[in-house]
């Protein structure tokens, strides 16, 4: 490098690129938002953000991964490669928002450090599933996403030429090849995560299509490259190898030739043929696929320049490419693979009247104007993306199964008064304005059960401030202001709860859920994607529930407790999975409570 670093070396092409990128993201958020509002109006803002950023970031990763091989297969895609790092940083930032919000929403405000919880919430999922094939799908998906996010963030953080220079191009390039690992990790993240909850066949079809396109493009590009690497020729006297016919060279246009598996760049300038290394000192771009622009050999990837005769970059830059001796004998160009001393001028080989270079098919972002044909191609690519991105994002939200419902009056604090029953489930029995008596299950703030202040208030009239959570017929109060809790009749004899109404003994199969999230705090509130959160809530003391299906396919939740009045003893890591619960089902007030004698994974 030879000039002071800036945050971004803006030019017209970069501004156009970023403007198009911003437009794509705005288009994606508009489509995602509109379809969410129309089809899934109960989606919360956090869930919207988590889902939108996930879908858009994953889609952008596909675009990023496609650009490299497309540019190898068709040079007209090179303008998309020029500013790809901005695309990568945008994608990494979207992924960061997704990861951060998911960790906060599903793992924060509980009884464990959220970052520890991400990996351990349902640690039993790591067990090797010897006996149960289905247990494979229960492997924690979060660890894949976290690892991918780390890779993407390190890549984004090092997406500046400062890092390219100070890590060295080899290390930098190897580091950025980890994007392939990140892609594989994200495939696993999606497969083990959202695909366990969303059952529309559209999702596997879209993921499979994206995978096939990406892998096919990369394998095609790799095949093309390996074909070139396999070219062999025999050395003549003095170590010169025949590399090409002189008639194949064009003025001011590079040609890649291969000697002993290594590539070299031939250029014809001012009637002489020069040979340089084909590996650009910037990012290893194929110099021989470039052109001579403003009198300098110009790499097609990012426009780094070198003088053909000595391989030196023009001042103030000081990169240097190795140069090689060439000869022209009987219309054939010969090249010696021994590099000339660094920076020495090569005489080259005379070549009069080479064919003229093709016009209008080469553009580097720092040039002022793109040739019309190339500009048309770039516009077509942008229009294709403007259709593809919203369509794929739209499909991503359109086929989601309906989100869970409910109402959480977050931030709205009301005063509640009623009779408190601690057992079998902590509840406040409230007489409503219309005279009905309704039980409200009590929970604490965050991912915790009711605070300790309620201990000893069984059967007493109490008053406190909290927030309402409603998913009829379940009603809950988040007792988030424990200091306001007061027993209104401390000396009175505790009220005895009327006998419960037995509904029968039975075995029920359903999902073990935390009743707070399910009542309206989280959407989704069930399934694999919510499993970590459910474990945290149950671990923090939120009453467990069994979500079963009624004959119409709708959900019913039984609050779970022990066989008698005591709390249920169970493994909280079963949360978010199907279990079979056996016991007596009763109505306490209007709250269905299952007194569980046996709880087993299903």
């Amino acid at each position: 490098m030879g000039h002071a670093y800036q945050a971004v070396g803006w030019n017209r092409q970069k501004k156009l690129y970023d403007f198009t990128l911003l437009g794509l993201v705005v288009l994606a958020v508009s489509v995602f938002g509109t379809i969410t509002a129309l089809r899934h109006p109960d989606t919360t803002a956090e869930s919207f953000l988590i889902r939108f950023t996930a879908v858009t970031a994953f889609l952008l990763l596909h675009v990023i991964l496609a650009i490299g091989p497309l540019a190898r297969l068709d040079a007209r895609f090179l303008p998309l490669l020029y500013n790809r790092r901005h695309l990568g940083v945008t994608m990494a930032l979207l992924a960061l928002v997704h990861g951060a919000f998911a960790i906060v929403q599903f793992h924060a405000l509980g009884d464990r450090n959220p970052l520890v919880s991400v990996f351990t919430a349902y640690g039993r999922g790591y067990a090797v599933p010897f006996a149960d094939f289905r247990a494979i799908s229960q492997f924690p998906f979060e660890i894949f996403g976290f690892a991918a996010l780390l890779i993407l963030l390190v890549m984004a953080a090092t997406s500046h030429d400062f890092w390219l220079h100070n890590l060295g191009p080899s290390v930098w390039k190897a580091l950025h090849q980890l994007v392939y690992v990140a892609y594989a990790l994200l495939l696993a993240h999606v497969l083990f995560g959202v695909f366990q909850s969303e059952r529309s066949p559209v999702y596997p079809a879209l993921l499979g299509l994206g995978f096939v396109v990406i892998v096919a493009l990369h394998l095609l590009a790799a095949r093309q490259e390996s074909g070139l690497d396999r070219q062999r020729s025999t050395a003549l006297a003095e170590g010169f190898f025949p590399v090409t016919r002189a008639g194949e060279l064009r003025a001011n246009e590079g040609k890649v030739v291969v000697v002993e598996g290594r590539r070299y760049a031939l250029f014809v300038q001012d009637g002489r043929v020069f040979a340089l290394s084909n590996v650009c000192r910037h990012q290893g771009g194929p110099v021989g696929e470039g052109r001579i622009v403003n009198g300098c050999v110009t790499c097609p990837w990012h426009g780094f320049q070198y003088k053909a005769e000595d391989g030196c970059s023009p001042p103030p830059f000081h990169e240097t490419l190795p140069t090689y001796a060439v000869r022209l004998v009987d219309g054939t160009i010969y090249l010696s693979p021994l590099p000339l001393p660094v920076g020495t001028k090569s005489a080259g080989a005379p070549l009069l009247d080479p064919a003229p270079a093709a016009q209008g098919d080469f553009f580097i972002g720092w040039q002022s104007k793109m040739a019309p044909a190339l500009a048309r191609f770039a516009r077509t690519a942008a229009i294709f993306l403007a259709v593809l991105v919203p369509a794929a994002v739209g499909a991503g939200v359109w086929f989601q199964h309906p989100v869970d419902r409910g109402r959480f009056e977050f931030g709205i604090e009301n005063q509640f008064e009623g009779v408190l029953y601690e057992r079998p489930i902590p509840r406040l029995r409230v007489t409503m304005a219309d005279g009905r008596v309704v039980d409200h299950v009590l929970v604490g703030s965050g991912k915790f059960g009711p605070p300790a202040v309620i201990a000893g208030a069984q059967g007493h009239r109490v008053r406190f401030t909290g927030s309402l959570i409603v998913r009829e017929p379940l009603r809950m109060i988040e007792l988030n202001q424990p200091s306001t809790f007061a027993i209104l009749d401390p000396g009175a004899t505790p009220v005895t709860e009327a006998a419960s109404s037995p509904l029968g003994q039975g075995r029920f199969v359903g999902e073990l859920v935390d009743t707070k999230c399910f009542s309206g705090v989280m959407r989704p509130a069930a399934g694999k994607v919510h499993r970590g959160c459910a474990v945290r809530c149950l671990s923090g003391g939120v009453p467990p529930g069994l979500l079963v299906r009624d004959p119409h396919g709708a959900g019913v939740v039984f609050l779970l407790t022990g066989p008698g009045e005591e709390p249920l003893r169970y493994d909280v890591q079963l949360a978010g999975t199907l279990v079979e619960a056996e016991g007596a089902l009763e109505l306490h007030g209007d709250t269905p409570v299952l007194h569980v004698t046996h709880l087993t994974p299903k």
């Binding site: 490098m1 002071a4 670093y5 800036q6 971004v8 970052l115 520890v116 990996f119 351990t120 640690g123 289905r134 247990a135 799908s137 963030l153 953080a157 090092t158 500046h160 400062f162 220079h165 100070n166 890590l167 060295g168 191009p169 080899s170 390039k173 190897a174 090849q177 392939y180 892609y183 594989a184 497969l191 083990f192 695909f195 366990q196 993921l207 995978f211 892998v215 990369h218 394998l219 390996s226 690497d229 084909n278 590996v279 000192r281 290893g284 998913r471 017929p473 029920f508 069930a526 399934g527 079963v548 299906r549 009624d550 004959p551 709708a554 959900g555 019913v556 039984f558 089902l585 269905p592």
Partner: protein, 132 residues
């Protein structure tokens, strides 16, 4: 055990990033000026942009600063030419492996999908309790 392992890992990561923040502070206050010819005159926008990388990859920065202190040549390493042959091999290998393994994992994970509550047998006795 698992929680203990990840807690320790998190602690190590926090210490590592803490060291990174310290190195970043020294880097931006002083080291940056005698570091890299292009970084010397770099704008503040550039410094902000590379800050996360300095925090994450501080051993690289520190190693270079130590070499500078000892007046060792630091440009040589930065100029190490790339090996496109190795990169092309890695690239081809990565996608061949991905092309073979990913469809297998894809099929296994989809086939092993556990039933959800919607797939459980219906409960007959409690229709009046259905959630709304």
């Amino acid at each position: 055990m698992l929680e203990h392992f990840f807690s320790v890992l998190l602690l190590i990561a926090a210490v590592y990033l803490g060291c990174g923040a310290l190195v970043a502070a020294f880097f931006f206050v002083g080291w940056c000026r005698r570091f890299d010819p292009s970084a010397r005159e770099g704008s503040w926008g550039f410094r902000v942009l590379i800050a996360p990388g300095v925090v994450a990859l501080w051993p690289v920065i520190l190693a270079k600063v130590v070499r500078l202190q000892r007046n060792q040549k630091v440009e040589g390493e930065a100029e190490t030419p790339i090996s496109p042959e190795a990169l092309r091999r890695n690239h081809a290998l990565a996608f061949v492996v991905l092309a073979i393994l990913a469809p297998v994992i894809f099929a296994v994970v989809l086939a092993s999908r556990a039933p959800r509550w919607q797939d459980a047998p219906p409960v007959e006795v409690v229709t009046k309790l259905t959630l709304r």
